[in-house]
């Protein structure tokens, strides 16, 4: 029983109310993109703004113009932490500052982090951000509005969405709902729920009228990205003991060899 959000790109009208709601609720009003504070969008010829996620922008809408099946599509993709089922950031964090909660959200704890940024490098979706201009910097990313969920409220972005393009629900139920929606209008949707299988599944699920590759979402297999690293880490204790034992053994053998040859030499000397 984990919470999830279904994003239906066919319903999104690109109003970016979710971006604003996120900034308001999380008090991320610094660095509002104006020329004065030097963060004016470089995205010309688009309504898309700001151009990237940052420590002050935990969600944003990407605008994509796409020609698919002989039809023009203007698609709006909401980007934020995907809250993976098997998060790479949680596997990466050396101090366990990132955790996957039983309810679904992947949350971050300032009190443990020391700013190594491995989570940022490991994330297959490129989500966690860092406070680069702060002498006391932390990692920042979407929290799934965990404190709102705990009070029985929807996340700020979901609450504000005027077209129900964002729906909060139980993950399995939402997947079911998404399937029904695809089945009901197969000409409007590609037959793919992004996030159902990707890297072992995510808590944010997407429906789209065009292939997800067109939207700039990474093409990912069904295997969690942490599989090989977990296997390698599992080998650490046996390797530790094995190498220690081998080295001790070699030391003993070499010492014995030297002793024997020395004894031989003295014996030879004595007999002469």
């Amino acid at each position: 029983m984990t919470v999830a959000v279904l994003v239906d790109a066919n319903r999104c009208i690109g109003c970016r109310g979710c971006q604003i709601a996120c900034k308001q609720w999380n008090e991320n009003d610094e660095a509002i993109p104006t020329e004065e504070n030097g963060v004016l969008s470089k995205n010309r010829g688009s309504y898309e703004n700001p151009p990237q996620l940052s420590a002050h922008t935990w969600t944003r809408i990407r605008f994509t113009e796409s020609d698919y099946n002989g039809k023009f599509h203007w698609v709006f993709t909401k980007l934020q932490c995907m809250h993976c089922e098997h998060p790479a950031c949680v596997a990466a964090c050396p101090v366990g500052a990132l955790t996957k909660t039983a309810e679904g959200p992947v949350i971050y704890d300032d009190n443990k982090c020391f700013g190594c940024r491995y989570c940022m490098v490991a994330c297959p979706f490129g989500i966690p951000t860092f406070e680069w201009d702060d002498p006391l910097p932390w990692i920042r990313k979407c929290t799934f509005c965990m404190e709102r969920l705990n009070e029985g409220l929807e996340p700020a972005c979901v609450k504000t969405c005027p077209t129900n393009a964002l729906e909060l629900g139980e993950r399995e139920e939402l997947i079911q709902k998404a399937r029904e929606r695809i089945a009901a209008s197969p000409d409007k949707y590609v037959n793919h729920i992004y996030g159902e299988k990707e890297v072992g599944g995510t808590s944010w699920l997407y429906l789209s009228p065009v292939p997800f590759k067109e939207l700039g979402l990474p093409e990912l297999g069904p295997e969690p990205v942490s599989v090989d690293a977990e296997r390698a880490m599992g080998a650490v204790p046996p390797v530790l003991l094995g190498v220690a034992a081998t080295m001790a053994g070699i030391y003993w053998l070499c010492k014995r060899r030297d002793k024997m040859s020395q004894a031989k030499a003295t014996k030879k000397e004595a007999s002469e």
């Binding site: 151009p51 990237q52 596997a91 940022m120 951000t129 390698a232 880490m233 070699i250």
Partner: protein, 388 residues
Amino acid sequence: MMQQKRSFPIGTSILSVLVVLGLAVMIYRFINGLGAISNLSDGRPWGLWISFDLYCGVALAAGGFTLAGAVYIFRLEKYRPVVRPAILTAFLGYTLVILALLVDLGQPWYIWHIIINWNIHSPLFEVGMCVMTYTLVLALEFSPVVFEGLNKSNLPVVKRINWRIPWGVIRAIQIPLVIAGVVLSTLHQSSLGSMLLLMPTTLHALWYSPILPVLFLLTAIAVGPAMVIFESTLSNRVFGHKLETNVLSGLAKVIPYILGLYLLLKLFELMAVGEIGLIFTAYPYNLLWWGEILIGVILPIILFTLPDIRQSRKGVFWTSVLVILGLMFNRFNASILALGMRPGYLYFPHWMEFAISIGLVADALLVVWLAHRFLPIIQHEEVAEVKA
């Protein structure tokens, strides 16, 4: 003669300037944040410092454990004259890694969190623990040299202390220390490869491989002797202690075997997953791949198997330089050049990033210079047997 030896040569003043510049940048960083001194971004969170100071620094410090293992565990007495410089450079290498991390980490004063909050599934947890414990082990392994130096010194208070006591303690636990060093190095060198295992989707297929930890360990073992050859040749030049040619050629002889095993494993792995074709098709990444393989693996294997090269000091030195450059090329490829960036970002190190890295190397060179001046580094250890 003595007068001349004590004075500070021109090289050391250049080094001192670089150290001071590095320090100034470091202070600037702690006031204004990482963004002010680096071109690191959300798209490229790890840059020059991680590739050069951490990835190359740790690998190039491998001479410490390979030589300590050879001399104290395999009892290859022939290499005893180079074991002290090797351990000193390893210790300095690790100190540099730690200093670089103090700049690179967002809030380095919380580094102790890693001691109380364990995430045993994180490769970086393993890296952190190994850096800390192995640096301690290296300090202890090197400490007899310091005690020996203090024992001989005529400084007022220092000469009253009986330095033979701690010296004797360290000698008593020397073998366990060396074994601990080998174990920690095995784990640490390989864990730098494990760290990249979390990036199967962003690290290029020519470098990503489930056996990366093994590949990283093997290249580290190969570069250890090469690094010792490199340093001892240079320190011969500067300080005038001449090493026997057969010590160097003996070290050189081992390298082709390890590099050969590495090359075979790497090729077999690419074939096993059906990606061997990429070495011809994955332009421009295949050029990087061929670059590191030719410079750091194939050429050294050929050169070091030629007896003429192994018998010549120049030949051994320059071939070792190839091994070292090839390893650095490999670490840069795997940790930055072939590691994908978030779309819409660019990265080239800021000059202050270079200033930090160069300043740290200058630090180490200064310490090496001081150690060779004031500590019994090159001496045969048995000369100073502890009788206490």
